[in-house]
Amino acid sequence: MNLWKNFSQGIIRENPVLRLMIGLCPVLAVSNNATNALGMSIAVAFVLICSNCVVALIRKVTPGEIRIPIFIIIISTFVTMCDYVMHAYAPELYQALGVFVPLIVVNCIILGRAEAFAYKNPILNAFLDGAGMSLGFLLALVSIGVVREVLGAGSVFGVPLFEERIAATIMILPPGAFITIGCIMALLNRMEKKVL
């Protein structure tokens, strides 16, 4: 039961983007279409799950005074690996995401989970926490990406839905990110109020 809670809390109740509101910089920047949003979510999921597992694994041998530098080394190692692999095997996505792949290093979701959860819990719980948080991040980012792409470019995952001429270009420009994220947060809050 506890394990399930570790996994599920990141999805809605403590959703990193819509609830904790951390790691918003890449969310705002790469959610201009659904494909980029999905690619970014997968990269973040890889780094978050791996770093959570490794931090939990070595927490007993990590001296408290230098835990933050050690976390940063672990996180940046996985980010750089992800960067190389993406550049080699998904060059188009790599170009679209640009600087936001290396910037996963400073994504506060990852350091936040390492410090707040993985450092204090065994590996299985840390893995589930990472997976749940990643899923929450993915759901939030992809839903923002889908809304912005449909309204701003008239397509979804690159498949055209209607004529681009009637699409509201503002939705794929930076203001569209703020508008969409605000509306989704409001919707989520309202839904939760009704359920409870």
């Binding site: 041998v61 080394i73 190692t77 690996m81 270009t169 420009l173």
Partner: protein, 178 residues
């Protein structure tokens, strides 16, 4: 004092492990990255200069643009020139194919950082098609012989400047040859 040394050693071990792992991944992926970049650039060369089978780098050292001469069955069939004019947000890297009569044969935007939804419309075939067949004598100005992109006149001007530069380079290259 002993504590500091112990911490330093712990941190050092983590750094060494991390560096080793990264070196391995780097060695595994570099050949793939280089092969991809090469294949994709060669593909672009063929795209802008249809008919050419092999390309030779004939760029002048220190020049702003890179020139590739295309050959089919040993005969030159035109040039592909890479230029990077200024757009609205940074440089627009583009490749333009020019036939021996100094007319644009094909054009491809390699990379750009223009405004999404406005300047990025330069990637559309309809916009690119306007430049095909243009030569040194054409004015190549937005609102004259080129339809500017809505809300992105500066981006349009950038592309026009790029094509002009390519045609100029191609003309000079032609003159330089005996």
């Amino acid at each position: 004092m002993g504590r500091i040394i112990k911490l330093g050693i712990t941190l050092g071990i983590f750094c060494v492990l991390s560096a080793g792992l990264l070196a391995w991944v780097f060695l595994m992926t570099t050949p793939v990255i280089e092969a991809n970049a090469k294949a994709s650039f060669e593909g672009s060369l063929r795209e802008v200069l249809p008919g050419a089978k092999t390309f030779k780098d004939v760029s002048v050292k220190g020049a702003k643009s890179q020139i590739y001469e295309g050959y089919a069955d040993g005969k030159p069939v035109g040039l592909a020139v890479k230029v990077a004019p200024r757009g609205y947000a940074g440089e627009i890297e583009m490749l333009v194919g020019v036939d021996p009569e100094l007319r644009v044969k094909g054009m491809k935007i390699l990379s750009q950082r223009e405004t999404p939804g406005l300047g990025t419309n330069m990637l559309k075939p309809k916009f690119i098609a306007q430049f095909i067949g243009k030569g040194v004598k054409d004015v190549l100005e937005p609102k004259k012989d080129i339809d500017a992109l809505t809300g992105a006149t500066i981006s349009t001007r950038g592309v026009c400047e790029g094509v002009k530069a390519v045609l100029k380079d191609a003309e000079q290259y032609g003159k330089g040859k005996p």
